[in-house]
């Protein structure tokens, strides 16, 4: 019987293997390491398009640390993200539990429910912009039918972020529902039979059996939604452009303004680096949460 050649003990074969790594290494350097290194390098310069880059060290970061507009944009990002993650998770889980049960026309209603997810966000944002119009929009008309006074929706500072989150909720609740439905399909029926024999209520069965079993799926949905909400741009840009004033300006919109409206490449690069640090920190928290939610 022939045996496969064994690599020699020591390092005599290593240089041969090394060359197989080179293409991957070059690709990684070109598309990940170089852009990052270049971004960090640019963040250490004052550089406006049309002008020359001037080395300023950490000045861009120092200015961001005391820039009220930038600091507010971080708060707006978190506020928007919390609403745009928590609400779809709650409503999506509820919808999944409802659609998991068997009832007439369930398939049709499920299809209708997931339709918002299929729409283009920019087109949806334009439709919602018209719906939000305080005088001519359909939302205030609907409120008037049930005796509620008009709201200013995205046209007032205190309601703009919840209103924008409402659009995200409408868009992405079906996504959470689909993931949780997948989890529910894998849940065994025996625990429910035992619980029924023991006289458990529906709420007790949900809270003590269903919820712990689908929690890992909810956490996965939460991680994906958090990443999506953090990078949300088109809905906010189209509907409010970060306004009124800067009331709904998130980090993404602030970054966009610095890079493509003011052409401050250096400052924009510093914002990218800070944003990256925030995303990494948040990802670590979410990964920790995912580990905690695992079945053992």
């Amino acid at each position: 019987m022939k045996t496969l050649p064994q690599p020699a003990v020591g390092s005599s074969r290593r240089p041969v293997y090394f060359w197989f790594v080179v293409p991957g290494l070059l690709a990684t350097l070109a598309v990940i390491v170089f852009p990052w290194a270049f971004t960090v390098w640019m963040s250490l310069h004052e550089w406006k398009l049309g002008g020359t880059a001037v080395w300023v060290g950490l000045r861009n970061y120092a200015e961001l640390a005391v820039n009220q507009r930038f600091l507010e944009s971080i708060w707006h990002t978190f506020y928007f993200t919390i609403l745009a993650v928590i609400l779809p998770l709650v409503l999506g889980t509820f919808a999944a539990v409802v659609f998991h049960r068997t009832f007439p026309l369930r398939g049709l209603l499920r299809t209708i429910f997931i339709m918002p997810m299929m729409a283009t966000p920019v087109a949806i944002a334009l439709v919602w912009t018209m719906m939000f119009h305080p005088q001519l929009g359909v939302l205030n008309y609907l409120l008037s039918l049930v005796g509620i006074g008009p709201s200013e929706w995205v046209f007032a500072r205190h309601t703009v972020i919840p209103s924008l989150a409402l659009v995200e909720v409408w868009l992405w609740t079906p996504f959470v529902m689909i993931i949780v439905l997948g989890g529910l399909a894998a849940v065994p029926s025996e625990p429910y039979e035992s619980a029924q024999l023991d006289g458990a209520t529906r709420w007790q069965m949900f809270w003590k059996i269903t919820f712990p079993l689908v929690l890992p799926f909810i956490v996965v949905a939460g991680i994906i939604r958090t990443i999506d909400a953090l990078k949300a741009f088109e809905v906010i840009y189209v509907i409010s452009s970060g306004g009124p004033g800067t009331a709904s300006e998130t980090l993404n919109l602030y970054l966009y303004a610095q890079a493509f409206a003011y052409y401050n490449v250096g400052t924009a690069s510093a914002v990218v680096v800070v944003f990256f640090a925030i995303v990494v920190a948040l990802s670590l928290v979410l990964l920790w949460a995912r580990e905690r939610a695992k079945w053992y």
Partner: protein, 446 residues
């Protein structure tokens, strides 16, 4: 050896032909010899044009075949929305190798930026040369304000194309119902707006832009009533926290906070247009380009009821805010003369008249507003044309000629939006001025 002789003969023949043809390669000589303007000089070439998607850009595309037939030049057009086009051209021009030869630019945003970076080719020489510009182009017909807009450091770097004056749209029916006369001064606008404001019946006394950035021209238009612009001198000094600037901000606040529609802090021109076209606002401050939609029976309930008023006088001066577009040639283009023909065609009398006829733009030409054939073919009321003519006589630039125009609009736009929410105009203007001053100073140094 025989081959070498043949090659030498070919070379000599070619050289001789080259010597004979050399004058033909000189544009001036060609035009001088022909005795008439030769539009086909660059036949067979192709040009790439970057346009802002707008009624002006649409007009060029609609008549593009006419230019191609006239010159034999093939044209490729990329038209994209205003904000995206501005970003794209800056990035491409900065790269040194733009994908276009001709660019549509907004003077009120890009004039100083383009001039500082030397992104545009000088066209003044070609424009003033009778052999390069046909006599019928009539350079003297271009308005001085247009040429001033196109001129940087004494050089004409583009051709002025379209001007946008700010005016006061008013709903005659609502004015008549309340017995209110058209306001002749800024103070009277405030009084009239208060009288016409009727929120119980869903009527706003006045509407205008409240959205950050978009709202700044409303304030600068008001400030012109005090005879003041946002900056003065060279290098530019900010005049945005003077008593007059604050007074203008206070009028802005009074109008929109007390007599504006609910949610006006988030209104751009389109929300105001919808409201006015539905007969839900008595007055509307904005640019000249909105006559077509408000006179369109498919989209408007106020057709035939709209008045177009020259913007009323302020306490110290009477001006109409002016914004403008031009068309220029990228300095990196290798087809500058062919590109110049396109610029000439864009801004010639016929195309200018067409621009005016549609009511969506006003050319930087004197003759268009006097041309009876054009005026009789207007698709919007004659009152609009009268208003445009009157506004042109008192026009003054409404935005400062500085590099960071967008940042200026964002910073002061936020302050103005805050005033709608109840913030003190004086405090907001001083805060915004302090915030923007270092940005301006840095831009002048760079």
């Amino acid at each position: 050896m025989k081959n070498i002789v043949a090659s030498r003969r070919t070379l000599l023949r070619g050289a001789a032909l080259g010597v004979l043809a050399a004058p033909m390669l000189n544009t001036k000589t060609l035009f001088a010899q022909s005795g008439a303007f030769n539009w086909k000089r660059f036949q067979g070439q192709s040009l790439e044009i970057s346009l802002i998607r707008s009624p002006r850009g649409d007009l060029l595309k609609r008549h593009q075949a006419e230019f191609e037939a006239l010159t034999g030049i093939k044209v490729g057009v990329e038209d994209i929305p205003e904000q995206q086009q501005r970003q794209k051209v800056v990035i491409e021009l900065n790269s040194g190798r733009p994908s276009f030869d001709v660019v549509h630019l907004s003077y009120h945003v890009q004039k100083r930026q383009f001039a500082k970076a030397k992104w545009l080719a000088e066209v003044g020489g070609m424009l003033n040369d009778a052999q390069l510009t046909p006599a019928e182009y009539d350079r003297a017909d271009l308005t001085q304000r247009g040429l001033d807009y196109a001129t940087d450091d004494g050089k004409i770097n583009s051709l002025p194309w379209s001007v946008d004056y700010w005016l006061l749209y008013w709903n005659k029916e609502l004015f008549q119902a309340k017995g209110v006369a058209y306001p002749r001064t800024i103070d009277e606008i405030v009084t009239a707006a208060a009288r016409l404001h009727d929120p119980a019946n869903g009527i706003a006394g006045i509407t205008a832009r409240g959205l950050r950035n978009a709202n700044v021209p409303v304030w600068t238009q008001l400030m012109l009533g005090w005879g003041q612009e946002a900056t003065a001198g060279a290098p530019p000094r900010l005049m945005t926290d003077t008593d007059d600037a604050i007074a203008a901000a206070r009028v802005y606040q009074t109008l929109l906070r007390n007599s504006g529609p609910q949610g006006v802090a988030g209104f751009n021109w389109n929300e105001s247009q919808s409201l006015f076209a539905q007969g839900r606002a008595a007055m509307w401050i904005d640019g000249v380009g909105f006559a077509p939609p408000v006179e369109d029976p498919q989209r408007s309930r106020v057709v035939g009821k709209v008045g177009y008023g020259i913007f009323p006088a302020g306490p110290k001066a009477h001006h109409s805010g002016m914004f403008g577009d031009g068309i220029g040639i990228a300095s990196a283009s290798r087809k500058k003369e062919a590109a110049f023909l396109y610029c000439l065609w864009t801004t010639n009398k016929q195309m200018s008249n067409r621009l005016l006829q549609g009511g969506s733009g006003v050319p930087f030409r004197r003759s268009s507003l006097q041309d009876q054939a054009t005026l009789s073919a207007l698709t919007v009321p004659k009152e609009w044309a009268d208003c445009v003519r009157g506004s042109g006589e008192i026009a003054r630039a409404a935005l400062p000629v500085i590099v960071p125009v967008t940042e200026f609009r964002d910073v002061f736009g936020t302050a103005l939006t805050n005033t709608i929410g109840g913030a003190d105009p004086a405090a907001e203007m001083r805060r915004a001025t302090a915030e923007f001053r270092p940005v301006l100073e840095r831009s002048e140094q760079g």
